[in-house]
């Protein structure tokens, strides 16, 4: 029975790990995209 606990724990770690990492990458990307838009606006959008 203890064996199965290890099995569940290992599966949880692998999939939670992959998922959290991809989620983190996703939010990183969203933040950068917003920064990029803001910078573009500052550089090109506003009148001189």
């Amino acid at each position: 029975m203890a064996d199965l606990t290890f099995l569940y724990a290992a599966y949880t770690i692998v999939w939670a790990g992959v998922f959290v990492y991809m989620l983190w990458l996703h939010f990183d990307q969203l933040k950068l995209r917003k920064d990029l838009e803001l910078l573009e606006e500052v550089l090109h959008g506003e009148p001189e």
Partner: protein, 230 residues
């Protein structure tokens, strides 16, 4: 939509489907291992994570060499991206490994097993690589120093294989049975799991590279804006 986005979305969909299939195969289709029991099902994803980690580290080595040859920062971005993914998957492999080992060998870690030690050393080397990158300010310096470091980190690995023969005189290596006793259905499940993780790796790598390229652009634009207002 740019063509690269299409490729990435396709990869994500394929990876997701293959992942679900491989979980099904690993949990329900593959037979229970005769000596190790159900806990052997950790093996499919443990080994796949380790495989992705090795791919990541290997790619870092190759792209570091390419960076040193061409001095193109593109290669440095590739090296950094694959190193980070390597560390993440290596962490997964290192944490799931002992759970399997505890159930099968009765211990969490075998200090005489070259494979385990090699993985631990690689993990530490690439954590140090990420620490180094986080602490160098100049962009060019960061690329140069981390390329040099990843090369010295990996260059003595082949020699360590040779050295293992020497150290195993002190610790007789127990012959591992996990590959030897694979049944065909297990092999098939393992193959699918490996494929799923490989495609997942390519997808994450492309995403990470895009993020890092974007970060470079943001930094450049920030300099520009700062120059105009400052």
């Amino acid at each position: 939509m740019r063509p690269l986005d299409k490729v990435r979305i396709t990869l994500l969909v394929v990876a997701a489907i293959l992942t679900l299939v491989s979980i099904y195969l690993a949990v329900l289709y593959a037979p229970t291992h005769t000596t190790m029991g159900d806990v052997q099902r950790i093996f499919y994803f443990h080994v796949s994570s380790a495989w992705v980690a090795y791919m990541g580290f290997g790619l870092t080595f190759v792209t570091s060499l390419l960076y040193m040859k061409t001095k193109d920062l593109k290669w440095d971005v590739y090296a950094y991206s694959s190193a980070q993914i390597g560390v993440v998957f290596c962490t997964l492999a290192i944490t799931t490994g002992p759970m399997w080992a505890k159930a099968v060998w009765g211990v969490y870690w075998r200090w005489e097993d070259l494979k385990l030690m090699m993985t631990l050393v690689l993990w530490l080397v690439f954590i140090a690589y990420l620490v180094l990158r986080a602490n160098v300010q100049s962009r060019r310096k960061k690329a140069n120093l981390s390329a040099v470091f990843s090369i010295i980190g990996l260059i003595c690995i082949p020699l360590s294989f040779a050295a293992n023969r020497l150290w195993s005189q002190y610790h007789p290596t127990v012959i591992a049975t996990e590959e030897g006793s694979l049944q065909a259905s297990m092999g098939f499940s393992f193959g699918i799991a490996l494929l799923a993780f490989t495609i997942l790796f390519i997808y994450i790598l492309l995403t990470k590279i895009e993020i890092e390229t974007m970060r470079e652009t943001v930094e450049e634009l920030k300099q520009k804006v700062g120059g105009r207002h400052g």
